[in-house]
Amino acid sequence: MRIFDPHIHMSSRTTDDYRAMRDAGVRAVVEPAFWQGQPRTVVGSFTDYFDSLIGWEPFRASRYGIRHHCTIALNPKEANDPRCLPVLAVLPRYLEKDNVVAVGEIGYDSMTDAEDEAFAAQLALAVEHDLPALVHTPHRDKARGTERSIALIRESGIAPERVVLDHLNEVTVRMAEDSGCWLGFSIYPHTKMDEHRMVAILREYGLDRMLVNSAADWGESDPLKTLHTGEAMYSAGFDTDDVDRVLWRNPTEFYGQSGRLGSGEVETTATEYAGNSVSRGVRKE
């Protein structure tokens, strides 16, 4: 099974996770910019984080044979803090970088006016920089938040096939499907969606525009949920081509719209140096 995880926060994972992911078949990931657990209060905290997403984290991933891309944005939660808003002004610089394959995560958290403004401004940036957009649907009041997101996406003029609505569930999947956007599902051990519910959704709605991710963030999560979904698909009677489509070809097609996706081959320049501090000690291959 080859796996492209289209939404995974590797900054919050260890090197053990990278090794397990590689062993499970993960060869490419997209890490969306999001919050950091502890709220940030200055623009410099964001730029150092963004630099890490285009610098250190892809290097760390390459040590384990995984190609790492990212999306860049001011996330909805922190868009409510006026101290963070000036981040919007530094985004254009990052949206021109090779490894940046979308604007995201944008969207709603509490559906405030400040979130409305940041969301609309960043959809406009996606159009301007010719990038797709990754839209986070809110944890609270999700159905209303998803409706409002779809309305704002329509207003913005970005083509729906260049947008993914993420963290969908049984309640929001229909309206997302009707919007023409891509459909993202974050598979967690206990919360948003699990692999068996996911398989039921795939049976009902088909495999078109479907993206499955493990999110793997600061909360209880599992970076192998993509693998587990593939296994659940097999158990439910889907074939190898179906699994490959959902776990590899769909994310490749969606982010491929940026024109910046790597070929899937991991750069070897970074992996030649075996003694780096990330992988100190003798490695057992």
Binding site: W56, F59, E96, D98, N99, R260, N276, V278, G281
Partner: protein, 202 residues
Amino acid sequence: MTLPRLREAIRHALTPAAAEWLAAAVAEVTTVARTIHTVFPRVGRRCGRDPLGAYDPQWTIDDGARVLLLAASPAVTEELSVLYRHGDVAEKRAILRGLPYLKIGGAGLPLITDALRGNDPRLVVAALGEYGASWLDDLSYRQGVLKCVFMGIPLREVSGLTHRADEELMRMMRSFAAERAAAGRPVPADLLTFVPDSHRQD
């Protein structure tokens, strides 16, 4: 390694469309220096990232094209630190590699020390090129070389060793070898070539 030779190597490496894009970008930067901030991140996508070939086996096409842009800028000293601060790894590496081609004296030294503070071997080794070997003080140069040994970067890729390796650097290398030996861990082969009186323990 001179600008005319680099221009020649790039001319051979680029497709006609890429050559046209680069010529326009160079012309733009020559006229309005700050336009380099717009074109610099796009170089890899426009010109390609394949090896530059015989010019220098370590260099890629985007490295060379970026150095030509830097060399074209009438205000390169002012733009350099901003470009570096906001660059991704490919942009930073090209800047570090390009420093010897620019008429900036020691103004690039803060970029070299920044790269040596980091942990990305691609930048650490680029920082210990010709420019770093010329401008780093003894303490920083020795620490940089030892960091390469520690990270497993081949010392043949480090500039200046023949004339800058001093007795203190040898002592540091021997001490590093002794520490590895005491731990029962392999001593890097590179280091043994350098200080052959250290004992191999693997």
